[in-house]
């Protein structure tokens, strides 16, 4: 049975919303077309997870301006932990609900032509640039009902632009803080790295709605032009009341690299797609993701790298820990297209089960349309090794402490890839909190 929810938003509402925010004409048109399509498009179909009775479409979309943030002292402790203690507060964007509450980019980077600003300002100030990339080549408006809905109702996000041949050493950090519990977040992150440039971007999603139900419908589009490098880190930490659809895509041209390190720590039901297209020859990508499932949450993670260019290299690594009655599917899909000769596709998915009632599945999929390639995959679902526990406990560690070490060790290959130390520590704490 499919739930036939009529979308609670009409064209007038969307046009008014767009006008209110001073959007360029192309955006108003895109929203309007997207809404038209949304009704007839199918929901995404995550492999082996039934989402037909999840609520993705009925939510509050009201907009009220939230207060700006003048200094970090105003933030709750939980959020402060995401920064280094003596951080300069530079190269930082904080979005409070749908408001760009804090935004700073060093003068040096500004002078060099870097753009790091909220998506609405970006649309006003760099309309053509945003239009060129926004929901065209990475995530299509009509991919499914939720991408269309996202396009129609997008209400937050950030734009990152790195000019040709510029290497940005310090990471750019974005914090999407859902302070209010009722409003949905349809956030759009657009990262463009021009030829020969490099950038590290790290984002955090945080909400507090343990019981109030709402929706997060997130899209990320990353473009790495020839010989550009993008390192993308994320810690998603929506509370149990949020049902999340997150679609992160990357497009890598010749000699380009896109590396993902995703800490997927939501407490609510989640469908996550992370897909990277290696279009150019010699492009490469690592897609690493961790998740901890707990309570009754159901999650579905797909990591996929599609290789079109010759001599491309892809590596997918997924690690999951399941406890309570949580249920999670990990799909790893490596696809080598015809003509992508001498390419390599590797993947490894491992799930650690901490309880009898939890369910975890790792589905390794390799689709290869070319002969002259190499590929490999490994997948496992298992429990904590009793011999490891015996060994650690024989040195005096209590069972819980021994298990804690084993779990952190198990997740370390992904956690260690999160680019900013404070975020890495924060992720470790979130893992700790979710596991115990």
């Amino acid at each position: 049975m499919t739930v036939e929810t009529k979308l609670p938003f009409n064209q007038e509402y969307i046009q008014a919303f767009s006008k209110d925010r001073n959007e360029p004409g192309w955006m108003a048109t895109l929203r309007s077309k997207a809404l038209e399509m949304a009704d007839s498009l199918d929901m995404p179909k995550p492999d082996k997870t039934k989402i037909s009775n999840w609520n993705f479409t009925d939510f509050q979309h009201s907009y009220k301006e939230a207060a700006k943030i003048a200094s970090l002292d105003e933030l709750p402790e939980e959020l402060k932990a995401y920064f280094d203690k003596d951080a300069s507060m530079e190269n930082l964007y904080i979005q409070r609900n749908q408001t760009a509450a804090y935004n700073s980019l060093s003068q040096e980077l500004q002078d060099k032509g870097v753009i790091f600003t909220d998506i609405f300002t970006a649309m006003n100030e760099h309309s053509e640039l945003v239009e060129k990339y926004y929901m065209s080549d990475a995530v299509a408006v009509d991919q499914n009902r939720l991408t269309a809905l996202h396009a129609a109702l997008m209400n937050g996000g950030v734009f990152v632009y790195v000019p040709k041949n510029l290497q940005i050493e310090d990471p750019l950090q974005a914090i999407f803080w859902q302070e209010d519990t009722d409003s949905a977040l349809l956030n759009h992150v657009l990262v463009v790295a021009e030829e020969g440039s490099s950038v590290t971007y790290v984002e955090n999603y945080i909400s507090h709605n343990d019981t109030e139900e709402t929706v997060a419908n997130l899209v990320t589009e990353v473009f790495a032009h020839d010989n550009a490098q993008v390192a993308y880190g994320a810690v998603d930490n929506f509370a149990a009341g949020t049902t999340t659809y997150v679609n992160r895509r990357g497009v890598a041209q010749r000699d380009a690299q896109i590396n993902w390190a995703l800490g997927q720590m939501n407490d609510g039901n989640t469908v996550s797609e992370n897909i990277t297209y290696l279009l150019g020859d010699n492009a490469n990508s690592e897609a690493k993701a961790v998740s901890v499932g707990r309570g009754k949450q159901t999650q579905n993670f797909t990591s996929s790298i599609r290789q079109f260019g010759k001599e491309t290299d892809a590596y997918i690594l997924q690690r999951g820990v399941m406890k309570g009655g949580a249920s999670t599917i990990f799909n790893a899909i490596g696809k080598i297209e015809h003509g992508a000769t001498k390419s390599n596709s590797e993947q490894e998915s491992r799930v650690l089960m901490l309880s009898e009632k939890s369910r975890g599945d790792a589905n390794p999929i390799l689709l290869i349309d070319e002969d002259d390639v190499t590929a490999g995959h490994a997948a496992s679902v298992g429990r904590v090794d009793p011999l490891q526990m015996y060994y650690l406990m024989s040195r005096g560690l209590e069972q819980e402490e021994a298990e804690r070490l084993v779990i952190h060790g198990f997740l370390a290959p992904v956690v260690s890839q999160i680019p900013i130390e404070s975020v890495r520590k924060q992720l470790t704490q979130v893992i700790e909190r979710k596991v115990y």
Partner: protein, 262 residues
Amino acid sequence: MSGSVLEVKNLHVSIEDKEILKGVDLTVKGGEFHAIMGPNGTGKSTLASAIMGHPKYEVTEGTITLDGEDVLEMEVDERARAGLFLAMQYPSEISGVTTSDFLRSAINAKREEGDEIPLMKFIKELDKDLDYLDIDQNMATRYLNEGFSGGEKKRNEILQLMQLKPDIAILDEIDSGLDIDALKVVSKGINKMRSDNFGCLIITHYQRLLNYITPDFVHVMMQGRVVKSGGPELAKRLEAEGYEWIKEELGIEDEETAEQNA
């Protein structure tokens, strides 16, 4: 008070319903070094595992006490905190956990909350022991036992022994797979532990380890029992003559033959 006393009495142990130990008696006191020798498969590791509390081994009869406390009532970690240590024949690999993080957790596990070892002190003592055992500094930052060579694993077990300073240690084939230099280094580490407060049970197949570490007592295990005990000279005779003479002396038949005769 001088050292602890580990007492094993009439110990029977089964694994998957097969009886391996058939009544072992043994007492190890602080200040004493005991060696256990014996043919393959006679239950030496089983004895070590049962003392430490390996989950697969079931004690069906007998007692193990440490200073009068019932060891069999204790969980594995409680046994360790009570003062027991087992250097394993096949140490586990723990991916993602560095040797130094693990060691610090293990040291702190023995200390009261709020009395954790200061980081600088820990690093200093770790460096000292790494140096003493001729172990490359980078082992401390490598994941515990992961990708270690056989010899490196053994050295790491002795490193843990020196760091954790147990009252009674059991070393299960700590010499297997070691080259001559490593054997000397490992022996040096064990000898450094020697004191009235430290007792040691060394399981080995080779006299050559006992050339470096002189045992006070040597025991021979066969068919799940300690069948003969003596001083260091016993180990030398075993090295020279093997085990046949003991079988003859004690009238022990090979198990298959015994079964056929039964």
